[in-house]
Symmetry: C2
Subunit: 147 residues, 2 copies
């Protein structure tokens, strides 16, 4: 169990995705200590180009008013890509906690440049989930945006 | 009818969204002259935080390989927000044709800084669709990211 219950919830989402045959990336959005939405990457499961872990968490959080997003923290097991970083910026999420950025470095620089508090844990469970998946299914990991 | 058949297809998507009671923004993704995916904003229709017009077009284009995105053009009736700009960058879409950026200016600067060819038509049909909607339903337009 991760010491941070929200990162633990994101990891459980990643593990749920893996169990479904998907890419093991999970995310949760937390508002004042309450999880508004959980999600995991569903590219393979739903043939979806947009359901990354973070996007799935936004989608499952439903239609929230602007002020809720602006008081929320997003947890994700992997550094957010350009698309997910853009969603974080669109909604004005002020803080992002990232499990790891060793297997993929997203657009943390853009997030920080726009004032987002970005914390990277380099969590070994998150790293192992991704590295094991990429070793086993490189064709899936490289399918959408190439190497 | 718009003189560009792809922008016309994006406008028809925006009009379809309006007819459903939604925000009138439409998009199409075109690969070597063939429309891969069409979409329109479904925030209201599906209580979705992520189905902007461009995202819906990506989703409806399905699971494409990297090289297809890199040879495609995205048409959208409104300047792409941070999230949709991020999706364009993630997939390496090289060219974006925008109906208008008068009612909302997205992150065209970021797109251009990353080498995307961005063209803005300032099309009056696109402008009127948005301005009429915002005048009639300002609470819906301002709901998600505020004013």
């Amino acid at each position: 169990m991760h010491s941070d219950p929200y990162m633990q919830a994101a990891i459980e989402q990643a593990q749920a995705g893996l169990a479904e045959g998907g890419i093991p990336i999970g995310s949760v959005i937390v508002h004042h200590g309450v999880i508004l939405g959980k999600g995991h990457n569903r590219r393979i499961q739903k043939a979806s180009a947009i359901l990354h872990g973070e996007m799935d968490a936004f989608e499952n959080a439903g239609r929230q008013p602007a002020h809720v997003y602006r008081e929320s923290v997003l947890y994700t097991t992997l550094s957010p890509c350009d698309m997910c970083s853009g969603a974080i910026l669109l909604y004005g999420i002020p803080k992002v906690v990232i499990g790891e950025n060793k297997t993929f470095m997203g657009n943390e620089e853009l997030l920080r440049s726009r004032g987002v508090d970005v914390q990277v844990l380099q969590d070994q469970v998150c790293i192992d989930l991704m590295q094991d998946f990429i070793a086993k299914r490189p064709e899936l990991w490289n399918e959408d945006i190439g190497k």
